[in-house]
């Protein structure tokens, strides 16, 4: 078992047993579900919205080179720079070099999972550049020295008391657990950073091919400050974020908001098309878009799972997933958690180390039901499992067990015989009170369950003897 798999099991066991943590998650997700149900009622035809979104992303992803080139052309025409980063290291180097070249001392950053993916903040801090996370949730986990817990609500595992204690310790001027006051404290703390930063780093929710603009969605307005005040704006964006036309946002903005938080639309939907224009009096002098591959072309090359690149990072699948709801976001140990994380990570970071995430699912399908772009999420978990087996990435004992299973199941006589022996053995073991001990081959089951009642006769035996007579 890989280290990642071991860590997952350990963390999962710990979190599964933590009733307080499960309760916090349940409450948060209940609040989300109530809001989303309200949000869905604002659509006359939500299913049509999902189909249309899928169609638009299908077009974009399956002509990705064309649309990226169109985007690049417009960005260049408008005075922006595009850097094509093959991997995390290329992206980090470009940005740190840029920052050093411009003597950047302070950076304000808005929420971007892709910057987590490439571990950008750490690379900048290593160059003695101070990075301030400005999204409130990200700001909180940054103060705690933790990765984000969820791709949309990074601090959903914390109570107001946790946050109050944190702010009292780290910010000083706080002595309350009132959410309004806590938000005001964060605003005060970050204003100084906004006004002194030389560089603003954002992600982007969408890249618009036909106009060379990027779209950034926030409720807080932190990205808007970040793209207005500093001299340099850098946007780091996965190559899969492209949509063909500006008016595609007329659908994606409400859909993203509905699935992300249940709102009809998020408070600030911002389009940036370059540095400050020649007739403009405020805004950055330079605009850079770092287009990140980092394994996305691997996924693109898998036509069966290519639609996983449709993801708009709304977080709905995390909230729908009963496994996520039980173990939480940190347990996954990956940038992207929940069902989309389990589908993507083997492609982005290798099936050897991360196939276990695809197995850590009951395949209930709730994720597929809620995905606004209709990614076949739970079936892709099955596909990842098949891929792992075919690549010989599973324990040898598992393969032998299924060979045995197949052999038994190829013959009703063998099934009857092995079944009878198995049942006899289990009746004995349970009868002797040995359930859960080292002598119990079903102890992984009996650890969590009272031992099942074991029937004396199988269905087929009873069919043969009694029911056949009645005929």
């Amino acid at each position: 078992m890989t280290t990642a798999a071991q860590d997952f099991l350990r963390s999962a066991a710990e979190k599964s047993a933590n009733l307080t943590h499960r309760h916090i998650l349940r409450k948060g997700i209940d609040t989300y579900n109530t809001a989303v149900n309200r949000g869905l009622s604002r659509f006359m035809n939500w299913e049509a919205a999902r189909q249309k979104c899928h169609e638009i992303k299908f077009e974009a992803i399956n002509h990705l080179d064309r649309y990226l080139l169109e985007f690049e052309q417009h960005v260049n025409e408008r005075g922006g720079h595009i850097f094509w980063a093959q991997n995390a290291e290329d992206a980090r180097k470009y940005i740190t070099d840029l920052a050093k070249r411009h003597n950047v001392r302070t950076i304000v950053k808005s929420k971007s999972m892709v910057t987590e993916e490439i571990h950008l903040a750490a690379a900048l801090e290593a160059q003695e550049i101070k990075v301030f996370e400005t999204d409130l949730g990200e700001f909180i986990v940054q103060l705690r020295g933790e990765p984000p817990y969820h791709i949309v609500t990074p601090a959903m595992h914390l109570t107001r008391d946790d946050i109050a204690a944190l702010f009292k310790e780290k910010l000083g001027d706080v002595d309350t657990n009132d959410p309004q006051e806590l938000v005001a404290a964060a605003r005060r703390a970050l204003r100084k950073a906004f006004f002194s930063a030389e560089m603003g780093i954002t992600g982007a929710n969408f890249l618009i091919a036909d106009s060379g603009m990027i779209a950034i969605t926030t409720n807080e307005g932190n990205a808007d400050l970040g793209v207005s005040l500093p001299k340099i704006h850098v946007a780091v964006v996965g190559i899969e974020k492209v949509v063909p036309r500006l008016q595609d946002l007329a659908l994606f903005w409400p859909v993203l908001a509905t699935s992300g938080t249940g709102q009809p639309i998020t408070c600030y939907n911002t389009l940036i098309g370059g540095p400050r224009g020649p007739k403009e009096f405020a805004g950055p002098e330079e605009f850079h878009v770092v287009l990140l591959d980092n394994g996305r072309t691997e996924l693109l090359a898998d036509p069966e799972q290519r639609d996983a690149l449709h993801c708009i990072r709304c977080g709905a699948c995390l909230n729908a997933c009963p496994v996520y709801r039980t173990v939480g976001g940190h347990t996954y140990g990956t940038t992207y958690s929940g069902p989309i994380g389990s589908v993507l990570t083997p492609h982005l970071r290798g099936i050897h180390e991360f196939n276990h995430l695809s197995y850590a699912s009951s395949l209930c399908g709730a994720c597929t039901d809620v995905c606004p772009v209709k990614i076949d999420l739970h079936h892709h978990l099955l596909h990842n499992r098949r891929n792992a087996v075919n690549a010989h990435e599973r324990p040898g004992s598992e393969g032998s067990e299924f060979k045995m299973f197949r052999w038994v199941m190829q013959s009703p006589a063998r099934l009857a015989t092995f079944g009878a022996i198995g049942r006899l053995a289990m009746r004995m073991i349970y009868g002797l009170g040995l359930a859960g001990t080292a002598l119990d081959p079903t102890r992984k089951w009996t650890k969590m369950h009272a031992p099942p009642r074991i029937p004396k006769k199988s269905f087929r035996a009873q069919w043969k003897s009694s029911l056949a007579e009645k005929k």
Partner: protein, 244 residues
Amino acid sequence: MPKVSLFIPCFVDQLTPEVGLDMVKVLRRIGYDVDFPENQTCCGQPAFNSGYWNDARVLAERFVDVFRASENIVCPSGSCTTMVRNFYPELLVGNPKFDEATKLGQRVFEFSEFLIKVAKVTDVGATFPHRVAYHDACHALRELHLKNEPRELLKHVRNLELVDLPYSEDCCGFGGTFAINFNMISGAMGDTKAGNAEKTGAEFLTSTDPSCLMHIDGILRQRKSSVRTIHLAQILASSGDEPR
């Protein structure tokens, strides 16, 4: 008399035969001639779900052979029905038995689905004087799109009080080998489901899927709960005289 063949899941055959026997009882009561192709073993789902598609494929091909002569086929499990109807086509792409398997999938029905859509009955003459909550098994709900069918049947059972289960659509946590390989998570999910069942004050929790029920049952009994599990087929077979 209309005919129907029985598809008895391997674990029902070995561990919960009463579910199969009670399904037979109901089918006969509503006038069906029931046969059991004795050559059947397993649809292959455990191997398929774990990614061992080559092993699963062998069993799928075998299944097609076993049920070739059957007209309609009925199964007391949403997950096994799903395997044949929804996943055999994918598993057998490019295989000589692809067409046959796809057509076979259209003739396989989960038990409640069969009663409502094929037999077209909602009242099977059952009596079950108890308070009952219904758990939406995931495959039945999301792969076979069954939501109202089991509830419709339960509503026509005499003296049965059907109560709403909070979060009825949440997965119970069984998930096949998931319950073994990730038993802590599976147990926590089942624990949540068991707690929700207890909150309803129901005497029984029922569902279309015996695998879910086996999982929830083991957890309820470990909690020494007053709630017990019973398969839908067993409720529908009840005349009210059975000791419950």
